[in-house]
Amino acid sequence: MRRKQDSEVGLMDKGNALKKKSLGMLSFMLVLGLITLAMGTMAGNYRGFYLSLTLGTIIVLASIVYIPVVYKRDPGNPQGIAVPTIQSLWISTSMGLGYVVTAYAPYFMLPFPIATALFILGWIMLIAGLYALLSISKEANVSLAV
């Protein structure tokens, strides 16, 4: 009986840690998305602005929609926390890749400092997103294909 209770407490602790990590990561992506949106306003031309508006809005929406979902999930169900987190992170990480491959593209005519900042932010999103995807998937024992 006692062992069972200890096991349940352990599961809750693990779930709480996972929930905290998931919410932290989604919030991190939300902040980065907002920063890229703000940088878009400094692009100095409509093409660069629309690029940031498109990719940044997708990141912000993917985070804002999923944060309350993850927040409401029961810590005793790690898979219930991991699945929406992974869904959100796939989108944000993909848009991070988008910044990496388009920041210096000639069409968008982004000023060099802004392009470089978006390029770096894109890499941060890509690397952090990948790390979080792999670790959350492993901790919750959930497939990355959710």
């Binding site: 093409r47 629309y50 690029l51 498109t54 990719l55 997708i58 796939w90 989108i91 990480t93 993909s94 848009m95 890749l97 988008g98 990496v100 491959v101 388009t102 210096y104 593209a105 000639p106 069409y107 890509l126 990948l130 995807l133 792999l134 990355l144 294909a145 959710v146």
Partner: protein, 458 residues
């Protein structure tokens, strides 16, 4: 014994439930099924098909043709997906009833085993084109050479099944859709605004029927094998709803976007259009990644189909055999055809003739013949699977209707009579019922031979 217990006892010898029904524990939500279909659609070939349409129509007609063609695909593929969702069985398994066990092997060859090798070759060829657009002046990056080494790399990836490639594939897909949208608006921006979209047109406008056939043909193979994904649906209708939504909305949007980019930039293909717009080398490299990760799936699926056809060798051996064939076809095509889209268009049209009749016969058998003629009203037990299940070796009306439907569609195309794909589907559908119902009512044996399912599901 419950269905779950039966599943627990059966070993999945070939992997991915190739010859077994899906257990309840493996089912997925409707949203998940939708995302899987979207992932399949996210290939360069989808917007390349839009380029093909742009050579036939102006933008408004292109939208009309794409929507009509995709509505046909939504209904057709949706009905088949519902069969997969109800029976939890893949295409190769459900074809055992309308075509017979041997007939299903023939159907399997028509639907997947052969076309997927060609798809592998086509995607490899497109890979060669993309590499050549990025790096045009090098022997190793000529279309032929790039197709050969690209095909080899894709085959090796599929052989080892790198997890990293799967991860890259997931990351690529959402941005790939965004990139198509960006490319679409960028091409309009460079052309001088939305008004230009409706004024640009090719020199000769093709008949509507040709375009609808083309659109249906592009995804006909996919719509016949919708059960392969829909069988995982938690609800019987999950796959049907997911399929119909993604094909009507997103396939139409992709075709239109690809077509508009081609019309406005006046380039023969979308990859060149993306390069001309100035979306950067990175975007093109991303397109390569998309092709790569899609194509290793093609060769994996082709291997699955050949296992179901032969019951011999394992997946890895088939990947090597089929990948080598596909790579050689791409190299030869690239050498023979250069950057022309003709092989792609011809292949899509050929699919449009011969694959849909298989689906039409399946629909006629499942929705009409078995419930209303044979009295099998319960949808969940209409098609049964499991060790010891007896199947007919050949379903005579099914095979006859399939072959005649294909021939009618082909002749319609050759002589320009109506819409060939629709002719083929309707012919096969009614021919099956016209042959099967009188035979069944008159007590004439309409199935020959017998095949008993083994423990492995083969």
């Amino acid at each position: 014994m419950s269905q779950a217990e039966k599943h627990a006892e059966r070993k999945d010898v070939y992997g991915d439930y190739a010859t077994l029904t899906i257990p309840e524990s493996e089912t997925k939500s409707t949203l998940n099924i939708f995302m899987i279909y979207m992932g399949v659609l996210a290939v360069v070939a989808a917007i390349f098909a839009g380029s093909g349409l742009a050579q036939m129509y102006d933008a408004a007609t292109m939208l009309e043709v794409a929507l009509l063609g995709n509505i046909i695909l939504a209904i057709f593929g949706g009905l088949i997906a519902y069969i997969g969702g109800s029976t939890r069985a893949n295409t190769y398994m459900i074809l055992r009833y309308p075509l017979g066990r041997i007939g299903s092997i023939i159907g399997n060859l028509i639907v997947s085993a052969i076309p997927l090798i060609v798809w592998f070759a086509v995607e490899t060829w497109l890979f060669g084109i993309t590499v050549n657009v990025i790096y045009p002046h090098n022997v190793l990056t000529s279309i032929a050479a790039a197709s050969l080494w690209g095909g080899f790399l894709m085959m090796i990836t599929a052989y080892y099944g790198f997890r990293a490639m799967a991860i890259l594939s997931y990351i690529t897909v959402p941005f790939w859709y965004t990139l198509v949208v960006i490319g679409f608006f960028a091409s309009i921006d460079l052309a001088g605004g939305f008004s230009k979209v409706w004024t640009v047109r090719p020199e000769v406008i093709a008949p509507l029927g040709a375009g609808i056939t083309y659109v249906v043909g592009v995804y006909a193979s996919g719509s016949v094998i919708t059960s392969d994904v829909a069988r995982y649906g938690r609800k019987p209708w999950s796959g049907a709803v997911a399929w119909a939504t993604h094909v009507t909305i997103f396939m139409t949007a992709l075709l239109f976007a690809g077509g508009v980019m081609t019309l406005l930039t006046k380039t023969p293909n979308v990859i060149v259009a993306i390069a001309q717009i100035g979306l950067g080398v990175g975007a093109l490299l991303l397109a390569i990644l998309g092709q790569w990760t899609t194509n290793d799936n093609n060769v994996w699926s082709a291997a699955l189909a050949w296992i179901n056809t032969t019951g011999k060798l394992n997946k890895k051996a088939w990947v090597l055999i089929l990948g080598t064939i596909g790579t050689l076809i791409a190299g030869v095509w690239a050498g023979l055809w250069g950057m022309s889209l003709d092989p792609f268009i011809q292949f899509a049209s050929l699919l449009g003739y011969f694959i849909p009749p298989v689906g039409a016969v399946l629909i006629a058998d499942f929705y009409i013949f078995r419930p209303y003629v044979l009295g099998l009203k319960d949808i969940k037990t209409r098609y049964k699977f499991g060790p010891g299940t007896k199947y007919a070796a050949i379903n005579i009306p099914g095979l006859t209707a399939t072959l005649l439907g294909g021939i009618i569609a082909w002749l319609s195309g050759v002589y320009g009579l109506g819409t060939p794909v629709v002719n083929g589907v309707l012919s096969a559908f009614f021919l099956y019922l016209l042959i099967a119902i009188p035979m069944a009512k008159a007590g004439i044996k309409w199935e020959v031979g017998e095949w008993i399912e083994k423990e492995t599901g083969f």
